[in-house]
Subunit: 400 residues, 2 copies
């Protein structure tokens, strides 16, 4: 078990990646990677959304690592979480950043780019290059903002399916992702069993719980309560920063755990503003945990869009892999492909019993527990535990 208390969300992701790369076993880097963009919907072939909307233009931002084989059957789709992006591995051409799952993807790494053609794309409705609320609505020439049509995890998968078809992928060796990425993996397994040979949903349940919906709800309330939100019609560059920061702070609590906060912050305080003096000393201090949550909020504001946050969390809340398909037991029982389901013992957002239940209902699943003090975020931290399990899962010949 790692004792390094860092991760993307601790704001020290590069340090984690560097330190954990070794722990995840042998393997090299995919090197410098470029974000590419392809159109997957056009007026001639629009994207009809599950909830009734239509998008006449959809561009998808994506990265690929490794080479597609001649018959187009060695692709692995890696799917990202709520505030993630297509940059899963390697060093971004644009800004030099390491991908969010770099220790797991590369030559000789568990998701081995010498064997697999790995694809990661920004989800439909995201704000990292794929068409979403920050994109221009061709009908008005202005950003969609709040009028971006509602979409679901199912629609995200359809966009990925179109992208993969354009790339020449004929079937997927596996779809792998955590949290919202796990929802996409599950949706792939249920809706396209003919295209997917194995699936690895991590730290996620079969449908979004009332608890998780409640947490998203209060985060959305925080955004919408910010007067700068302006019913979603804020000008570019003037988003509801305070509201989005509070939403992130709420989410951060659910991504971590009692123990990780206690270990890292305890009751430590730090001075704020001017030097604390005499009688007001106590008021010139804040708890480190408060300062940390504020910092995490500010950081998200710099890199994410409030309307996108609202839309994506609604899509997560709508996640129910059995919706419209029959009883959950039957829907998941019909998924015959090998599945690797990993849960985290300290996850408060998707508690282990929920994840274990998902594994139980899938016809051919193996459940693996990640032991970590870090809570939900362990799927972005505990590479030493994730790596051997993914390596073994992808070595399995049953689905090769």
């Amino acid at each position: 078990m790692s004792t390094v208390l860092v991760s993307e969300t601790w704001g020290e992701h590069a340090a984690v990646l560097a330190r954990q790369a070794a722990a995840s076993g042998a393997g090299g880097s995919v090197g410098r990677v470029e974000l590419r963009v392809l159109d997957v919907a056009t007026p001639a072939s629009p994207l009809r959304l599950q909830r009734g909307g239509v998008l006449e233009r959809v561009a998808v931002a994506f990265e690929t690592y490794g080479e597609l084989n001649a018959d187009g059957t060695n692709a692995v789709l890696v799917t990202h979480a709520l505030t993630g992006s297509a940059h899963a591995a390697g060093v971004a051409e644009r800004d030099g950043e390491l991908g969010w799952w770099d220790p797991l993807i590369g030559p000789g790494k568990p998701i081995d780019t010498e064997r697999f053609f790995v694809v990661c794309s920004n989800v439909l409705g995201g704000c990292y290059g794929t068409t979403g609320p920050t994109s221009l609505d061709p009908a008005t020439g202005r950003p969609y903002g709040p009028s971006f049509p509602r979409y679901t995890v199912c629609d995200m998968v359809e966009v990925q399916r179109r992208l993969l078809a354009q790339l020449g992928v004929r079937s997927l060796r596996a779809v792998i992702g955590g949290s919202m990425g796990g929802m996409q993996a599950l949706e792939w397994a249920v809706s396209h069993p003919e295209l997917v040979r194995a699936v690895a949903p991590l730290a996620v349940g079969a449908r979004h719980s009332a608890w998780a919906i409640g947490l998203n709800e209060v985060a959305r309330r925080a955004i919408m309560a910010d007067p700068a939100w302006a019913e979603g019609r804020y000008p570019p560059g003037s988003q509801p920063a305070a509201g989005l920061a509070t939403a992130r702070a709420i989410a951060m609590l659910s991504y971590r755990s009692f123990d990780s906060f206690e270990e890292r912050f305890g009751r430590e305080k730090r001075a704020v503003g001017a030097a604390a003096d005499g009688a007001c000393a106590s008021d010139g201090e804040v708890f480190q945990v408060a300062s940390y949550l504020a910092y995490q909020g500010e950081k998200l504001v710099e890199r994410f869009d409030a309307n996108t946050y609202l839309h994506l969390t609604r899509a997560m809340d709508d996640h129910d892999v059995a919706a419209g398909r029959g009883p959950l037991e039957r829907v998941l029982g019909a998924v015959r492909m090998p599945a690797l389901v990993m849960g985290i013992d300290t996850d408060v957002l998707y508690p282990e019993p929920e994840v274990r239940e998902l594994a139980r209902l899938l016809a051919n699943a193996r459940y693996e527990r990640i032991v970590s003090p870090h809570g939900h975020d362990a799927f972005l931290i505990e590479y030493a535990q994730l790596a051997p399990r993914l390596r073994e899962f992808l070595a399995d010949d049953r689905a090769a």
Copy 2:
């Protein structure tokens, strides 16, 4: 274990009380009770606060049940939680409401008013009759609002001590309370061992954790982000309702549990506003859990004050029973009186290991586990489990 999914915070408290009264064993009602008020600080004997402020006038609102014995030694102090009041038992003279711990307090009940003189007072800084941010500042003739001086759990206890002295209480048979009430009970045990013979802190730790501070912090952020907050200078009747409601919604999540939300709400939806129609049907619905959280927020806004919420949660965050007293082990190890510490197996706010640790460090404590799907709020719900433990604890002759 109760399977009735109701409580104060489910908005069905009366129903709980009625149903659970039977489960808590024999016992009658204390009948109609009146809220009384006494001054415990005057310009001649001001209240000097731990953090340096001074209050020249402090009035305390309180209720009592049962009779004080001749030597003033049969009093039990019951201490309330964050949004609680002095109305712990019986039927309020003013509005007919049942007290928040009515099944536990009364003739023949575990906190037996035929044996004990039970006192419950609204805490210093509260908004149910005791001097707090909504009170008029004698210096300005306007409500204190944000300028109410910062106070601590220690100050709450000093106000209670003064009240009890005025009532003729010479020593306390026990101090009993959950959550913030438990902080007061602990502070009593540590600061006034000569006045207290037994203590029962429920669902609380020895000091506020980084996790609990973080939850309070995001709740405060929600309040302060509301433009109606106006740096705390909102006019009476125009408080930051949206912010306070969101703060409450955040807190509600931490008072409950994954399982209780799942059991009660699952993925149920309800229509909102005008009848849902065709294409927009999905947008005309909200999840029940979202509706519930909104409702709980609105209900709190009707009965609580935002500045008071900010102040009280800061006092909770400052809770550290060892602060300024030495190592925690030594401070709690010096508490020789019998202690009953109860934790709740599903409490996410004060997780059971934290509560158990408190019991371990106290010299003479018994730990009891409350098994409940309801999370932290179980201390306001699980009367059938609380009652026998409190009854036995108070029957114990060691501290009689």
